[in-house]
Protein backbone atom coordinates (compact mmCIF):
# COMPACT_ATOMS: atom_id res chain seq x y z
CA UNK A 1 0.00 0.00 0.00
CA UNK A 2 2.77 2.34 1.04
CA UNK A 3 4.51 1.46 -2.17
CA UNK A 4 1.45 2.27 -4.24
CA UNK A 5 1.14 5.69 -2.60
CA UNK A 6 4.81 6.46 -3.17
CA UNK A 7 4.46 5.44 -6.77
CA UNK A 8 1.47 7.71 -7.30
CA UNK A 9 3.25 10.56 -5.52
CA UNK A 10 6.30 10.13 -7.72
CA UNK A 11 4.08 10.11 -10.80
CA UNK A 12 2.32 13.30 -9.74
CA UNK A 13 5.67 14.79 -8.80
CA UNK A 14 7.14 14.17 -12.23
CA UNK A 15 4.09 15.70 -13.95
CA UNK A 16 4.29 18.68 -11.61
CA UNK A 17 8.00 19.08 -12.22
CA UNK A 18 7.46 19.05 -15.98
CA UNK A 19 4.81 21.72 -15.57
CA UNK A 20 7.01 23.73 -13.24
CA UNK A 21 10.05 23.56 -15.48
CA UNK A 22 8.37 24.20 -18.80
CA UNK A 23 5.42 26.43 -18.05
CA UNK A 24 5.52 27.83 -14.53
CA UNK A 25 9.12 29.01 -14.38
CA UNK A 26 9.87 32.23 -16.26
CA UNK A 27 12.22 32.15 -19.23
CA UNK A 28 15.72 33.14 -18.31
CA UNK A 29 16.45 36.43 -20.13
CA UNK A 30 20.01 35.65 -21.24
CA UNK A 31 19.93 31.95 -21.98
CA UNK A 32 16.38 31.52 -23.09
CA UNK A 33 14.55 28.23 -23.03
CA UNK A 34 17.64 26.06 -22.84
CA UNK A 35 17.99 27.10 -19.22
CA UNK A 36 14.91 25.02 -18.39
CA UNK A 37 16.94 21.83 -18.72
CA UNK A 38 18.79 22.99 -15.65
CA UNK A 39 15.91 22.01 -13.39
CA UNK A 40 16.30 18.39 -14.42
CA UNK A 41 20.05 18.69 -14.29
CA UNK A 42 19.93 19.79 -10.67
CA UNK A 43 17.31 17.21 -9.78
CA UNK A 44 19.31 14.31 -11.16
CA UNK A 45 22.65 15.45 -9.75
CA UNK A 46 21.06 15.83 -6.35
CA UNK A 47 19.69 12.30 -6.49
CA UNK A 48 23.02 10.92 -7.73
CA UNK A 49 24.82 12.57 -4.82
CA UNK A 50 22.36 11.12 -2.33
CA UNK A 51 22.66 7.72 -4.00
CA UNK A 52 26.44 7.67 -3.69
CA UNK A 53 26.30 8.77 -0.08
CA UNK A 54 23.90 5.87 0.52
CA UNK A 55 26.38 3.53 -1.18
CA UNK A 56 29.14 4.76 1.09
CA UNK A 57 27.13 4.39 4.29
CA UNK A 58 25.66 1.04 3.27
CA UNK A 59 29.13 -0.24 2.41
CA UNK A 60 30.48 0.69 5.82
CA UNK A 61 27.46 -0.92 7.43
CA UNK A 62 27.98 -4.05 5.38
CA UNK A 63 31.59 -4.41 6.43
CA UNK A 64 30.56 -3.81 10.00
CA UNK A 65 27.44 -5.98 10.26
CA UNK A 66 27.93 -8.33 7.34
CA UNK A 67 24.23 -8.60 6.58
CA UNK A 68 23.01 -9.04 3.05
CA UNK A 69 20.49 -6.21 3.16
CA UNK A 70 23.22 -3.55 3.37
CA UNK A 71 24.93 -5.04 0.38
CA UNK A 72 21.70 -5.03 -1.60
CA UNK A 73 21.11 -1.42 -0.62
CA UNK A 74 24.61 -0.39 -1.68
CA UNK A 75 24.37 -2.23 -4.98
CA UNK A 76 20.94 -0.95 -5.96
CA UNK A 77 21.80 2.56 -4.90
CA UNK A 78 25.02 2.51 -6.92
CA UNK A 79 23.18 1.35 -9.99
CA UNK A 80 20.62 4.12 -9.71
CA UNK A 81 23.34 6.63 -8.90
CA UNK A 82 25.11 5.79 -12.14
CA UNK A 83 21.83 6.09 -14.01
CA UNK A 84 21.03 9.50 -12.57
CA UNK A 85 24.56 10.77 -12.97
CA UNK A 86 24.49 9.72 -16.62
CA UNK A 87 21.35 11.81 -17.00
CA UNK A 88 23.10 14.70 -15.25
CA UNK A 89 26.03 14.54 -17.62
CA UNK A 90 23.78 14.31 -20.67
CA UNK A 91 21.55 17.21 -19.60
CA UNK A 92 24.63 19.20 -18.66
CA UNK A 93 26.18 18.67 -22.06
CA UNK A 94 22.99 19.62 -23.85
CA UNK A 95 22.90 22.81 -21.81
CA UNK A 96 26.59 23.57 -22.28
CA UNK A 97 26.61 23.25 -26.06
CA UNK A 98 24.65 26.44 -26.80
CA UNK A 99 25.77 28.33 -23.68
CA UNK A 100 29.48 27.54 -23.47
CA UNK A 101 29.74 26.56 -27.12
CA UNK A 102 31.10 23.15 -26.28
CA UNK A 103 29.73 19.83 -25.08
CA UNK A 104 32.44 19.40 -22.53
CA UNK A 105 35.19 21.31 -20.76
CA UNK A 106 37.71 19.95 -18.30
CA UNK A 107 36.90 22.29 -15.46
CA UNK A 108 37.25 20.87 -11.93
CA UNK A 109 33.58 20.26 -11.36
CA UNK A 110 33.03 18.46 -14.63
CA UNK A 111 36.18 16.45 -14.35
CA UNK A 112 35.33 15.35 -10.85
CA UNK A 113 31.83 14.41 -11.94
CA UNK A 114 33.27 12.44 -14.80
CA UNK A 115 35.63 10.57 -12.51
CA UNK A 116 32.81 9.97 -10.07
CA UNK A 117 30.85 8.43 -12.91
CA UNK A 118 33.80 6.24 -13.95
CA UNK A 119 34.40 5.15 -10.35
CA UNK A 120 30.89 3.83 -9.91
CA UNK A 121 30.91 2.15 -13.29
CA UNK A 122 34.09 0.42 -12.17
CA UNK A 123 32.22 -0.50 -8.99
CA UNK A 124 29.57 -2.24 -11.09
CA UNK A 125 32.22 -3.94 -13.23
CA UNK A 126 33.94 -5.17 -10.10
CA UNK A 127 30.70 -6.62 -8.82
CA UNK A 128 29.97 -8.45 -12.01
CA UNK A 129 33.47 -9.84 -12.09
CA UNK A 130 33.88 -10.98 -8.48
CA UNK A 131 32.74 -14.60 -8.20
CA UNK A 132 30.54 -15.55 -5.27
CA UNK A 133 28.19 -13.37 -3.32
CA UNK A 134 30.07 -12.63 -0.11
CA UNK A 135 33.29 -11.97 -1.95
CA UNK A 136 31.49 -9.72 -4.37
CA UNK A 137 29.86 -7.81 -1.54
CA UNK A 138 33.07 -7.37 0.43
CA UNK A 139 35.15 -6.24 -2.52
CA UNK A 140 32.47 -3.88 -3.68
CA UNK A 141 32.11 -2.41 -0.21
CA UNK A 142 35.85 -1.85 0.12
CA UNK A 143 36.01 -0.26 -3.31
CA UNK A 144 33.05 1.97 -2.59
CA UNK A 145 34.64 3.25 0.60
CA UNK A 146 38.01 3.90 -1.04
CA UNK A 147 36.34 5.59 -4.00
CA UNK A 148 34.28 7.84 -1.79
CA UNK A 149 37.31 8.95 0.24
CA UNK A 150 39.13 9.57 -3.02
CA UNK A 151 36.63 12.06 -4.39
CA UNK A 152 37.58 15.20 -2.44
CA UNK A 153 41.21 14.54 -3.33
CA UNK A 154 40.32 14.16 -6.99
CA UNK A 155 38.51 17.47 -6.85
CA UNK A 156 41.48 19.16 -5.20
CA UNK A 157 43.93 17.62 -7.61
CA UNK A 158 42.01 18.77 -10.65
CA UNK A 159 42.01 22.26 -9.24
CA UNK A 160 45.72 22.06 -8.60
CA UNK A 161 46.31 20.81 -12.13
CA UNK A 162 44.48 23.67 -13.74
CA UNK A 163 46.18 26.14 -11.44
CA UNK A 164 42.90 27.99 -11.16
CA UNK A 165 40.03 27.83 -8.79
CA UNK A 166 36.94 28.86 -10.69
CA UNK A 167 33.70 28.37 -8.89
CA UNK A 168 31.08 27.56 -11.45
CA UNK A 169 27.74 28.81 -10.38
CA UNK A 170 24.63 27.66 -12.06
CA UNK A 171 22.84 30.11 -14.29
CA UNK A 172 21.15 32.76 -12.24
CA UNK A 173 23.60 32.02 -9.46
CA UNK A 174 23.13 35.57 -8.29
CA UNK A 175 19.53 36.70 -8.18
CA UNK A 176 17.33 33.72 -8.95
CA UNK A 177 13.64 34.38 -9.54
CA UNK A 178 11.40 32.86 -6.85
CA UNK A 179 9.44 30.91 -9.45
CA UNK A 180 12.69 29.39 -10.65
CA UNK A 181 13.54 28.35 -7.12
CA UNK A 182 10.10 26.76 -6.80
CA UNK A 183 10.58 24.87 -10.04
CA UNK A 184 13.98 23.71 -8.88
CA UNK A 185 12.67 22.47 -5.56
CA UNK A 186 9.72 20.72 -7.17
CA UNK A 187 12.12 19.01 -9.54
CA UNK A 188 14.44 17.91 -6.80
CA UNK A 189 11.54 16.57 -4.77
CA UNK A 190 10.13 14.72 -7.77
CA UNK A 191 13.48 13.20 -8.64
CA UNK A 192 13.95 12.12 -5.04
CA UNK A 193 10.55 10.44 -5.02
CA UNK A 194 11.34 8.72 -8.29
CA UNK A 195 14.63 7.57 -6.84
CA UNK A 196 12.97 6.15 -3.73
CA UNK A 197 10.41 4.28 -5.79
CA UNK A 198 13.03 2.87 -8.13
CA UNK A 199 15.30 1.96 -5.24
CA UNK A 200 12.56 0.05 -3.43
CA UNK A 201 11.61 -1.78 -6.61
CA UNK A 202 15.23 -2.61 -7.35
CA UNK A 203 15.76 -3.93 -3.82
CA UNK A 204 12.69 -6.12 -4.21
CA UNK A 205 14.08 -7.46 -7.45
CA UNK A 206 17.36 -8.34 -5.79
CA UNK A 207 15.53 -10.06 -2.93
CA UNK A 208 13.53 -12.08 -5.44
CA UNK A 209 16.76 -13.17 -7.10
CA UNK A 210 17.96 -14.38 -3.71
CA UNK A 211 14.74 -16.27 -3.15
CA UNK A 212 15.00 -17.95 -6.53
CA UNK A 213 18.61 -18.91 -5.88
CA UNK A 214 17.55 -20.43 -2.56
CA UNK A 215 14.66 -22.32 -4.15
CA UNK A 216 16.92 -23.70 -6.81
CA UNK A 217 19.38 -24.86 -4.19
CA UNK A 218 16.70 -26.55 -2.14
CA UNK A 219 15.56 -28.54 -5.16
CA UNK A 220 18.78 -30.51 -5.32
Amino acid sequence: MMRRILFILAFIGIIASLYAAFIYAPTEPQMGHIQRIFYFHMGTVWVATVAFIIVFIASIMYLWKGTRKWDILAYCSAELGVLFLTLTIITGSVWAKPIWGTWWTWDPQLTTTFILWILYIVYLVLRSSAGNDTKKAKYAAVFAIIAFIDLPLVYLSVRVMRGISPVVFGPGGGGIAPEMMDALLINMAACSLLFIVLLLERIDLERMKDTIARLKLSEY
Binding site: L119, V122, L126, S129, A130, K138, V142, F143, I145, I146
Partner: protein, 223 residues
Protein backbone atom coordinates in the same frame (compact mmCIF):
# COMPACT_ATOMS: atom_id res chain seq x y z
CA UNK B 1 57.43 -5.40 13.52
CA UNK B 2 59.36 -8.61 13.03
CA UNK B 3 56.44 -10.09 11.19
CA UNK B 4 56.39 -7.22 8.73
CA UNK B 5 60.09 -7.60 8.06
CA UNK B 6 59.70 -11.34 7.58
CA UNK B 7 57.25 -10.72 4.75
CA UNK B 8 59.41 -7.99 3.24
CA UNK B 9 62.48 -10.22 3.42
CA UNK B 10 60.62 -13.12 1.85
CA UNK B 11 59.49 -10.96 -1.05
CA UNK B 12 62.94 -9.52 -1.61
CA UNK B 13 64.59 -12.94 -1.53
CA UNK B 14 62.04 -14.32 -4.01
CA UNK B 15 62.68 -11.40 -6.28
CA UNK B 16 66.45 -11.63 -6.02
CA UNK B 17 66.30 -15.30 -6.97
CA UNK B 18 64.15 -14.88 -10.05
CA UNK B 19 64.64 -11.22 -11.00
CA UNK B 20 61.77 -11.69 -13.44
CA UNK B 21 59.55 -8.97 -12.04
CA UNK B 22 62.28 -6.39 -11.99
CA UNK B 23 63.49 -7.06 -15.49
CA UNK B 24 60.02 -6.97 -16.97
CA UNK B 25 59.04 -3.79 -15.13
CA UNK B 26 62.19 -1.99 -16.18
CA UNK B 27 61.99 -3.15 -19.76
CA UNK B 28 58.40 -2.09 -19.91
CA UNK B 29 59.20 1.38 -18.59
CA UNK B 30 62.03 1.69 -21.08
CA UNK B 31 59.81 0.60 -23.95
CA UNK B 32 57.13 3.10 -23.01
CA UNK B 33 59.69 5.89 -23.18
CA UNK B 34 60.87 4.63 -26.56
CA UNK B 35 57.33 4.37 -27.90
CA UNK B 36 56.54 7.89 -26.74
CA UNK B 37 59.61 9.10 -28.47
CA UNK B 38 58.43 7.65 -31.75
CA UNK B 39 54.91 8.88 -31.17
CA UNK B 40 56.10 12.44 -30.64
CA UNK B 41 58.32 12.26 -33.70
CA UNK B 42 61.46 13.13 -31.71
CA UNK B 43 60.38 16.75 -31.57
CA UNK B 44 62.21 18.55 -28.79
CA UNK B 45 59.52 21.10 -27.95
CA UNK B 46 56.84 18.48 -27.42
CA UNK B 47 59.21 16.33 -25.42
CA UNK B 48 59.99 19.17 -23.06
CA UNK B 49 56.31 19.78 -22.46
CA UNK B 50 55.39 16.14 -22.21
CA UNK B 51 58.33 14.75 -20.30
CA UNK B 52 56.85 14.79 -16.76
CA UNK B 53 53.71 13.11 -18.04
CA UNK B 54 55.78 10.57 -19.94
CA UNK B 55 57.84 9.81 -16.87
CA UNK B 56 54.77 9.11 -14.78
CA UNK B 57 52.98 7.12 -17.44
CA UNK B 58 56.04 4.88 -17.74
CA UNK B 59 56.21 4.68 -13.98
CA UNK B 60 52.52 3.86 -13.46
CA UNK B 61 52.30 1.27 -16.21
CA UNK B 62 55.43 -0.50 -15.07
CA UNK B 63 54.20 -0.31 -11.48
CA UNK B 64 50.86 -1.87 -12.37
CA UNK B 65 52.72 -4.68 -14.08
CA UNK B 66 54.66 -5.34 -10.89
CA UNK B 67 51.67 -5.04 -8.59
CA UNK B 68 49.57 -7.47 -10.56
CA UNK B 69 52.30 -10.06 -10.04
CA UNK B 70 52.53 -9.31 -6.34
CA UNK B 71 49.57 -11.38 -5.26
CA UNK B 72 49.59 -13.67 -8.26
CA UNK B 73 52.84 -15.02 -6.85
CA UNK B 74 51.21 -15.65 -3.49
CA UNK B 75 48.32 -17.34 -5.20
CA UNK B 76 50.59 -19.84 -6.95
CA UNK B 77 50.98 -22.87 -4.76
CA UNK B 78 48.49 -21.26 -2.40
CA UNK B 79 51.24 -19.51 -0.49
CA UNK B 80 48.69 -16.94 0.61
CA UNK B 81 46.87 -19.55 2.68
CA UNK B 82 50.08 -20.31 4.50
CA UNK B 83 50.53 -16.64 5.22
CA UNK B 84 46.98 -16.28 6.47
CA UNK B 85 47.34 -19.29 8.74
CA UNK B 86 50.20 -17.73 10.62
CA UNK B 87 49.06 -15.89 13.74
CA UNK B 88 49.53 -12.49 12.14
CA UNK B 89 47.25 -9.54 12.07
CA UNK B 90 45.89 -8.92 8.58
CA UNK B 91 47.04 -5.34 8.55
CA UNK B 92 50.60 -6.52 9.24
CA UNK B 93 50.43 -8.67 6.12
CA UNK B 94 49.26 -5.59 4.30
CA UNK B 95 52.12 -3.54 5.73
CA UNK B 96 54.66 -6.18 4.74
CA UNK B 97 53.37 -6.53 1.21
CA UNK B 98 53.09 -2.80 0.88
CA UNK B 99 56.64 -2.14 1.99
CA UNK B 100 58.12 -4.73 -0.35
CA UNK B 101 56.01 -3.46 -3.25
CA UNK B 102 57.03 0.09 -2.47
CA UNK B 103 60.68 -0.91 -2.55
CA UNK B 104 60.30 -2.53 -5.97
CA UNK B 105 58.25 0.26 -7.46
CA UNK B 106 60.53 2.90 -5.98
CA UNK B 107 63.68 1.32 -7.39
CA UNK B 108 62.09 0.90 -10.81
CA UNK B 109 60.95 4.52 -10.59
CA UNK B 110 64.44 5.77 -9.81
CA UNK B 111 65.93 3.70 -12.61
CA UNK B 112 63.30 5.10 -14.97
CA UNK B 113 64.29 8.60 -13.92
CA UNK B 114 67.92 7.73 -14.62
CA UNK B 115 67.07 6.49 -18.11
CA UNK B 116 65.07 9.61 -18.59
CA UNK B 117 67.93 11.90 -17.60
CA UNK B 118 70.22 9.95 -19.88
CA UNK B 119 67.96 10.02 -22.92
CA UNK B 120 66.72 13.55 -22.68
CA UNK B 121 69.84 15.29 -21.56
CA UNK B 122 68.80 16.63 -18.21
CA UNK B 123 71.26 17.88 -15.64
CA UNK B 124 72.21 14.81 -13.64
CA UNK B 125 72.33 15.69 -9.94
CA UNK B 126 70.07 18.71 -9.92
CA UNK B 127 67.33 16.66 -11.56
CA UNK B 128 67.82 13.39 -9.77
CA UNK B 129 68.01 14.57 -6.19
CA UNK B 130 64.73 16.53 -6.04
CA UNK B 131 63.00 13.78 -7.99
CA UNK B 132 63.90 11.10 -5.46
CA UNK B 133 61.45 12.26 -2.74
CA UNK B 134 58.75 12.82 -5.37
CA UNK B 135 59.15 9.31 -6.74
CA UNK B 136 59.18 8.00 -3.19
CA UNK B 137 55.97 9.78 -2.17
CA UNK B 138 54.37 8.80 -5.46
CA UNK B 139 55.33 5.17 -4.93
CA UNK B 140 53.77 5.08 -1.48
CA UNK B 141 50.41 6.40 -2.62
CA UNK B 142 50.43 4.27 -5.71
CA UNK B 143 51.40 1.08 -3.89
CA UNK B 144 49.07 1.69 -0.92
CA UNK B 145 46.07 1.52 -3.21
CA UNK B 146 47.67 -0.98 -5.56
CA UNK B 147 48.43 -3.60 -2.89
CA UNK B 148 44.84 -3.58 -1.71
CA UNK B 149 43.41 -3.78 -5.20
CA UNK B 150 45.82 -6.40 -6.46
CA UNK B 151 44.76 -8.66 -3.58
CA UNK B 152 41.22 -7.99 -4.71
CA UNK B 153 41.70 -8.29 -8.46
CA UNK B 154 43.50 -11.60 -8.26
CA UNK B 155 40.40 -13.25 -6.83
CA UNK B 156 38.02 -12.01 -9.48
CA UNK B 157 37.21 -13.51 -12.83
CA UNK B 158 38.96 -10.78 -14.79
CA UNK B 159 42.11 -11.12 -12.66
CA UNK B 160 44.98 -8.85 -13.70
CA UNK B 161 42.82 -7.09 -16.27
CA UNK B 162 40.75 -5.58 -13.51
CA UNK B 163 43.67 -4.04 -11.62
CA UNK B 164 44.34 -1.03 -13.86
CA UNK B 165 40.61 -0.40 -14.18
CA UNK B 166 40.27 -0.29 -10.41
CA UNK B 167 43.42 1.69 -9.84
CA UNK B 168 43.57 4.46 -12.39
CA UNK B 169 40.50 6.41 -11.33
CA UNK B 170 41.59 6.22 -7.69
CA UNK B 171 45.20 7.28 -8.15
CA UNK B 172 44.41 10.34 -10.23
CA UNK B 173 45.41 12.69 -7.36
CA UNK B 174 48.81 10.96 -7.11
CA UNK B 175 49.45 11.20 -10.82
CA UNK B 176 48.30 14.80 -11.08
CA UNK B 177 50.37 16.05 -8.16
CA UNK B 178 53.43 13.99 -9.06
CA UNK B 179 53.34 15.19 -12.66
CA UNK B 180 53.00 18.76 -11.48
CA UNK B 181 55.91 18.41 -9.06
CA UNK B 182 58.16 16.65 -11.57
CA UNK B 183 57.30 19.31 -14.10
CA UNK B 184 58.60 21.95 -11.71
CA UNK B 185 61.81 20.01 -11.16
CA UNK B 186 62.40 19.33 -14.86
CA UNK B 187 61.84 23.00 -15.57
CA UNK B 188 64.60 23.73 -13.12
CA UNK B 189 62.39 25.16 -10.38
CA UNK B 190 62.28 24.23 -6.73
CA UNK B 191 59.84 21.55 -5.60
CA UNK B 192 58.28 24.04 -3.25
CA UNK B 193 57.09 26.11 -6.19
CA UNK B 194 54.19 23.67 -6.31
CA UNK B 195 53.62 23.27 -2.61
CA UNK B 196 49.89 22.62 -2.93
CA UNK B 197 50.69 19.55 -5.05
CA UNK B 198 53.17 18.44 -2.44
CA UNK B 199 50.57 18.76 0.30
CA UNK B 200 48.07 16.88 -1.81
CA UNK B 201 50.49 14.06 -2.45
CA UNK B 202 51.44 13.71 1.20
CA UNK B 203 47.83 13.78 2.37
CA UNK B 204 46.88 11.19 -0.25
CA UNK B 205 49.64 8.93 1.08
CA UNK B 206 48.56 9.29 4.68
CA UNK B 207 44.85 8.86 4.00
CA UNK B 208 45.18 5.86 1.75
CA UNK B 209 47.81 3.96 3.69
CA UNK B 210 45.45 4.14 6.65
CA UNK B 211 42.23 3.43 4.75
CA UNK B 212 43.73 0.54 2.80
CA UNK B 213 45.32 -1.03 5.88
CA UNK B 214 41.97 -0.95 7.64
CA UNK B 215 39.98 -2.41 4.75
CA UNK B 216 42.58 -4.99 3.76
CA UNK B 217 41.32 -7.62 6.16
CA UNK B 218 37.97 -7.76 4.39
CA UNK B 219 39.64 -8.39 1.08
CA UNK B 220 42.08 -11.08 2.08
CA UNK B 221 39.74 -13.28 4.14
CA UNK B 222 38.97 -16.82 2.97
CA UNK B 223 40.17 -16.09 -0.56
Amino acid sequence: MNKIWAIVKKDIITELRTKELFTSMLLFALLIIVVFNFAFGFSVEILNLASPAMLWIAFTFAGILGLSRSFALEKEGNAIIGMLLTPTDRSLIYAGKMISNTIFVFIVGILTVLMFILFFNYEFLSTLIPLIPIVFLGSIGFVAVGTLFSAMAINTRLREVLLPILMFPIIIPVIVSAVKLSGQVLDGNSVFAASSSLKLLVSFDIIFVTACAVTFEYVIDES
